[in-house]
Every structure is written in C-alpha cells, then in structure tokens.
C-alpha cells in the first residue's frame, strides 16, 4: 500500500479522501489556500501545507505549488479529488515525471475522454450508443446552423473541453442558435482555454444516469451500478440516487456493459464515471461523456455496495487487487445524496458568508460529507458545495423518509442554503413517484 498521499483539493472531498487515507495508515498531506486555513480538512490532515492566495489559479490550480508541497512533505502519491487539476493530463504527466504515484487514470485516458468530440467518436467506434452530433469541432455560427439542420432540432450546444454545465444550452430552432453558439464559445475559451464547440441532438425527456466503473490493476474493468443524477439546476446536479427509479434490469445490464466497454477502450485504471442520457420515452440510452476521476456523488454507490471507492483508488494506484470480489458485487437497498449548497433555495443564487451554526443530522443510514463547520467563512472563490447529505435505506421509501428527517434536522445558519429546496423536492409528488427527468426543477419552479 502507499505510505503517504497528498490530496490536491479542498473542502468536503479533501476531507473525505484524507479520512480513508488515515484509516488505512497512509500519511495524509493536505494543501490549502489562504481562504481555507480554518476548514476541517486542514486540521484533520497529518500535515498541511499552505500553497497560495484564495483565487484557484494561484493555489489549487497552481501545479508548481502543489508539486513543491509534495516534494517538501515527501508525499509518495497525489490524489486530485474532483475539479481543479483532476482531469488535467499535463498535471498527471508532471506528477508521474516527478516519480510520484498518480491516484487516477493514465494521462492518455484523461486526454481521450477530455475532448468530448473525440470521446463521442471513440465510443461510436466501440459500439457504445451516442446521439446524432458533430464529429468535428464547430468553429463558426454558420457551420453550427448547417450542422444543426443535419442533426435536427432541438440541439445541445456545448464546449468540447467543458464540464459542469458551463456554456451549455439547448436550442429549439435556428433563431437562437447563433447566440447560443457565441455564448458557448466565449465561455469555453474563458473556462477551459479551448473554444471547440460540439452540437448534439438534445433529448427532451431524459434522465441523466451514470455508471461507476473501476479499472483494476490487472486491466479488468468492472461496473459498480448506476446513479440517477436527473435533479439538476443550470445543468448542475443537486440530488442523486441509486438505483435509478427509471432503469429496469434489462436496460441496466446494457448500460453497465457499455460502460465497461468505454473503460476498456481507453485502458482505464481507477475510478471513473460514464455519464449517459436515458430517453424515458424510448427506454434507451446514449453516451454523454466520461469523467475520469472520483465523482462528487460517489457516496451513494458506497452506501449500497459497502465498498470504499477511495480505498480502491489507492489500491489500484499501488498496483494491488481491490478489497472485494469484483464478480460478487450485489448492491443492497437504496441511497440518496442531497447536495447542500450555499445558495438561496428559490432562485439558487450564491450566498457566501460566515457560518454561525452548523449541526449535522445523525441517525440510522445517515452519512454527512461536510467541508465546513461553525465559524468557517464560505467565500466566493470556490463552488457553493457545503456538504453532501447522504442516506441509505432498505428501499426507496425508507431512504426518502430518512432523507426528509435528516433535512429537517440539518441546521446551518449564516449563508442561506438550499436545504428548504431539498425539503420541497422530497415532498414533491413528481420526485416521490420516481418518474422524473432533468426538467424536474424547472417544473417545480414554474
């Protein structure tokens, strides 16, 4: 096993990774920006190194500062978490060039999946279903109009190098396309440093369902079930659950098999997620993209499988077998994750501020992955995720009942939070029925 690891991240995910490292006896090193010195992950690490001022570009995205911290602390490995440097193949190569262990997939796999146009084309070649779309970057508004006419409306316009829903929009006809294209291109350039745009057919009544995969040290790829991530605002996830209420046994079997093929096609190692859209009318699915890292919502998979995914990442990175028998994974019960954001619960606008009270719910089946505690300041520099409230039950009804109680018991004052939204979601007939899709929040707010 690894003897030490540096976690190049912050907040709840840094804390969660550090916890598994410490449980396994791996010396756990944190890095932090000036804005985060008082956060729990810094206090809980065996060692913590300040790496710069609050803006991400001068701290968590500064690969030189992260590598210097690794050298200074003698860390043997680097775990990137999600976001920041996690899907940066150049950084992965730098880590390897330093003689360190990269707790992530091979840089080539990150690269192949990071370009969404390349990923779509590759998936189509290995027989994973993709939607109608562009096979080359779209560079002008005129070309976008021509491509959209070929693909058929509605189309989704998005950044080839993108993620997090940034710059993405669905367009129903030629009128809005030029504006959507320009917006996507500007944001793609600004956020991802790459203006390449792709268009694909937009599925209107769709569920967003993803498959957790693990590429093992012996080159096998295994699928650990799916997660339904259809509850979204601004194309960003707010709540997730497993199993998906909209996926039956036959469809699940096909999706898991396709996810394994996707991983095999790029020689995948470690934890990854294959995101798909399930067309609820057709009962079929298409490949959307692959996230080559640990996913925010990985805890729901852990709750139903009993597998610690971060432990498996460490084991695979060290060239060891995983801690479970890959052909005997039988998910049990139902799990839900609610992302607690520092934002107002009606319009979902950011609400930074100092946390004056923080009381987490407890009880059977309740797990809270929190990045903050009372007294911490939530700043404008990073994403608004405060905590992930996760619950497990024997079935969906029990999980949702536990979730309702846990939401009511979670006390956070200072920044406004979306906890009232979660109470509303859990009470809504549409969510309770399980028959919902990615437009559920828009309907709740109309």
């Amino acid at each position: 096993m690894l003897n030490s690891v540096l976690v190049a991240n912050r907040g709840e995910i840094a804390r969660r990774i550090l916890a598994t490292a410490r449980r396994l006896g791996i010396r756990a090193v944190a890095v932090y920006s000036e804005a985060d010195a008082d956060l729990p992950f810094v206090a809980e690490a065996d060692e913590a190194v300040p790496i710069g001022p609050p803006p991400p570009g001068q701290s968590y995205l500064d690969s030189g500062a992260v590598l210097a911290a690794a050298r200074r602390t003698g860390a043997a490995a680097i775990h990137p978490g999600y976001g920041f440097l996690a899907e940066n193949p150049g950084f992965a190569r730098q880590v390897l060039a330093e003689g360190l262990i990269w707790v992530g997939p091979p840089p080539e796999a990150i690269e192949q999946m990071g370009d969404k146009i390349n990923a779509r084309n590759l998936m189509a070649r290995v027989g994973v279903p993709v939607s109608a779309g562009t096979t080359e970057p779209v560079t002008t508004a005129a070309a976008a109009v021509a491509e959209a006419a070929r693909i058929g409306y509605p189309v989704m316009v998005k950044a080839a190098a993108g993620g997090g829903g940034i710059g993405m929009s669905a367009v129903t006809g030629p009128d809005g396309l030029a504006a959507a294209f320009e917006t996507a291109r500007t944001r793609a350039e600004r956020f991802f440093g790459d203006p390449a745009i792709l268009l694909e057919r937009y599925v209107e009544r769709a569920r967003h369902v993803e498959v957790q995969i693990l590429g093992l040290a012996d080159d096998r790829v295994v699928a650990l079930g799916e997660r339904d991530c259809s509850v979204q605002r601004r194309h960003q996830k707010v709540a997730e659950e497993t199993p998906s209420p909209g996926v039956g046994e036959a469809l699940r079997g096909r999706m898991l098999a396709a996810a394994v093929r996707a991983g095999e096609a790029v020689g995948y190692r470690g934890a990854g997620t294959v995101e798909c859209l399930v067309d609820t009318d057709a009962g079929d699915f298409i490949f959307l993209e692959m996230n080559t890292r640990l996913q925010v919502e990985h805890p729901v998979t852990e709750l139903v499988t009993g597998i610690d995914l971060v432990e498996q990442q460490f084991r695979i990175a060290a060239g060891e077998p995983v801690s479970f028998a890959p052909d005997q994974v039988r998910p049990r019960g139902h799990a839900v994750e609610l992302r607690v954001y520092a934002e107002d619960p009606v319009r979902f606008l950011p609400s930074p501020g100092t946390i004056t009270q923080w009381e987490e719910p407890t009880g059977p089946g309740v797990r809270v992955d929190a990045g903050y505690k009372a007294g911490n300041r939530v700043t404008t520099f990073y994403d608004p995720l405060l905590a992930k409230l996760c619950v497990h039950g024997r079935d969906r009804d029990e999980a949702l009942a536990r979730a309702r109680e846990a939401v009511a018991a979670f006390r956070i004052t200072g920044p406004r939070t979306n906890l009232p939204f979660h109470a509303e979601l859990l009470a809504s007939a549409e969510f309770r029925s399980g028959d919902y899709d990615t437009s559920i929040i828009a309907r709740l707010r109309s």
Binding site: L349, P350, P352, T380, Y382, D383
Partner: protein
C-alpha cells in the same frame, strides 16, 4: 429613475452596457461572478443608463449600487 443593486457578494466579470446608452427592460448591464457561477445583472426598466458604478474586476457586496437608469 431606477436603481440596480447587487443581489449578492460577487466579482464583476464583465461590463456589457455603457453609460449614456439606451437600455430596455431585461437587457444585460453587467455580468457578475460568484462561486463559479455567472450572474447577469439586468435592467429593471427602460431608459438611459445614467450611471454605471462598477468596473470589471470590482468586488460588490449585497445591496451595492451597480447602475442608475433614468
């Protein structure tokens, strides 16, 4: 006269409109950024953009005056 104020703490990412311009209800004046999110600030009413109180790179607090439309 209509005052447009910031709804939250944020950084001013882009100033879209200019002083003296005619603006219509719902036009984007400024784009703020906070917590990895872009928040367009819209004109609340039509008229002349008499004053613009922010520049790109500024930090605004909740309630800060951003623009005046006359």
């Amino acid at each position: 006269m209509a005052e447009v104020r910031a709804e939250m703490v944020a950084n001013v990412w882009k100033v879209v409109a200019a002083e003296g311009e005619e603006v219509s209800d719902g036009d984007t004046l400024v784009i703020l950024e906070s917590m990895k999110m872009e928040i367009p600030v819209l004109a609340e009413g039509s008229g002349t953009l008499a004053r613009l109180h922010v520049a790109e790179g500024d930090v605004v607090q909740e309630g800060d005056l951003i623009a005046v439309i006359e």
